[in-house]
Symmetry: C2
Subunit: 325 residues, 2 copies
């Protein structure tokens, strides 16, 4: 990539809140220098939904000069006609397919150096499935496009950055998935991300096991993985009691926290409000961020969706691009 | 009890931070109308530690008139001589024994109507064991003194009140302990406590199981227990995704949250700081609160301990006494 390549923002599911929050970000000046990857007519409808008269400007190439006070849209060839006439807020095969095509086109462009980062608006899992897309969401799709590299989800806001060892599985199976390799790999990915050097590792059990009294994963698995990471030069600490480590990180004692389970990590990130929460995929060969919410089909097309998290995702992408590698 | 009975505050382990934070609460006017249950000489040493010259006033009976600008101490007969000469911050059998005797004396007085509530300063688990006390902590001791009633821990601050289904056990065993009966019992105890009517129940799994995709405890256990509670007239809702339910309660959507595990519940309560966190034991036939920290042997006797959580525990006890039953 070149430093001047635009950040590419996918439109998300065309009938969810994605297009209208993307339009808001441009209208409010939060997406200057960015380009939407998606359907021009869908973005024109979204601009109308938020009462913004600025013209959508289709771009034939990402090398075109960016327009001022407009919504620049680079449209993947694969997109069908008529997307902008689909009803809002329903699971539709064509919408899922178009959303996925926009993501893959944008990701390939970023990997090819034509974009500096990827910011993705929300997909709908059911629409993807209806459209014959074999991935449950962005992360898996991007991981495959990038050749199957190991990735981790980081959830972040201005106070806290949490990297998760396990995510979308039952709590019972998540405990089994907390292995030496999974924890060490998470620490390597978190460290390499550049989003923070001093890393706290939360335990799995109450009081981080209280010396083995409340579970032994800290002694058998997490502690040894931290030791191995430290041997590699990673500034990892812990395992700490889960109930206080996030508060300690919030106060500045650590820059990143590695959490074993989805909810240990996400409860504190979301506690003060989901509006500022951002999802950052670590481990990919490019920067990818997204808002920390879904398509919100129940309010799509009404112009009432909150674009805060998407704007934060764009800010985080800019910040991540600037990290020296 | 009579409305004018004093709140009884136990001194805690005599060589931990308990006595000095209790002295601080009296000095700062946060314990007006309360009586310390413990050793008078220990409390005199604690007052000296915080540089407070007010005299310790031993009370021969809880029916005595309360002194002004003094530290009223009601001393259990069982306490030995010399407690105030024990070295600070060490596990000592005599200290553990005296702390436990103060708790049982105070609890019996409250159950006998001579006190309106019990506020307990921290015990040390190892000192209790060294002193031949067969309980790991307050909760189990009080539960036994009250005849073995089922109890639950509520952790609360000014923003959030969380009642826990499981507490001090491994996460793996906690999952097994999330039964229909345990959840329903928790809802009954939470409801009867009067600390809030509208109750949210957090799920166990990510996204509360995502319809069974990430675990089925919500469908098999938690959902049916909520339904049974609602049939009993309890205003219970859920199960909700653990990562957003606490944020929703913080914003006022619910008055109480029932959490399945120690850390799902305690992470959000402690996230903004442990100083204001209070532990309230629900289910006992009397009001009992305590600060949400331990004996802090490493700083005991230096006059630097923070009494905020104890002061909050006293405030919560006053509030709980006022709840109509």
């Amino acid at each position: 990539m070149t430093p001047t390549s635009p950040i590419l923002i996918t439109m998300g599911d065309p009938v969810g809140i994605g297009p209208e929050i993307v339009a808001q970000a441009f209208r409010d000046g939060a997406a200057d220098g960015c380009v939407v990857v998606g359907d021009a007519a869908v973005m024109a409808r979204a601009a109308a939904v938020i009462g913004w008269a600025a013209p959508v400007q289709p771009m034939s190439s990402l090398h075109d000069a960016l327009p001022q006070a407009a919504l620049p849209v680079w449209q993947p060839r694969a997109l069908p006609e008529g997307l902008a006439t689909l009803p809002w807020g329903q699971v539709q095969a064509a919408a899922g397919r178009a959303a996925a095509d926009s993501v893959s086109t944008a990701a390939r462009a970023v990997m090819g150096g034509e974009g500096s980062a990827l910011v993705t608006a929300p997909l709908n899992k059911a629409a993807l499935a209806a459209g014959g897309v074999d991935f449950p969401g962005h992360t898996e799709m991007l991981q495959t496009l990038a050749g199957g590299v190991p990735v981790r989800m980081m959830l972040a806001n201005e106070e806290l950055r949490v990297v998760l060892v396990t995510i979308h599985q039952s709590l019972r199976s998540a405990i089994d998935a907390v292995t030496f390799d999974a924890v060490l790999q998470t620490l390597r990915i978190a460290h390499a991300s550049g989003h923070g050097r001093r890393i706290a590792v939360a335990g799995l059990n109450p009081h981080a096991g209280e010396g083995g009294l409340f579970g032994d994963e800290e002694q058998r698995i997490i502690g040894p993985a931290i030791a191995a990471a430290r041997d590699e030069g990673i500034d990892a600490h812990g395992p700490f009691a889960p109930d206080t480590v996030f508060m300690r990180a919030r106060r500045g004692e650590f820059e990143l926290v590695v959490a074993m389970t989805h909810d240990h990590g996400l409860i504190p990130v979301k506690y003060l409000g989901v509006e500022q929460g951002v999802n950052v995929t670590l481990g990919l060969p490019f920067v990818r961020t997204s808002p920390d919410h879904g398509t919100a089909f129940d309010i799509a097309g009404q112009g009432v969706a909150d674009a805060s998290s998407l704007k934060a995702a764009i800010r985080w992408a800019r910040r991540a691009i600037a990290i020296p590698r």
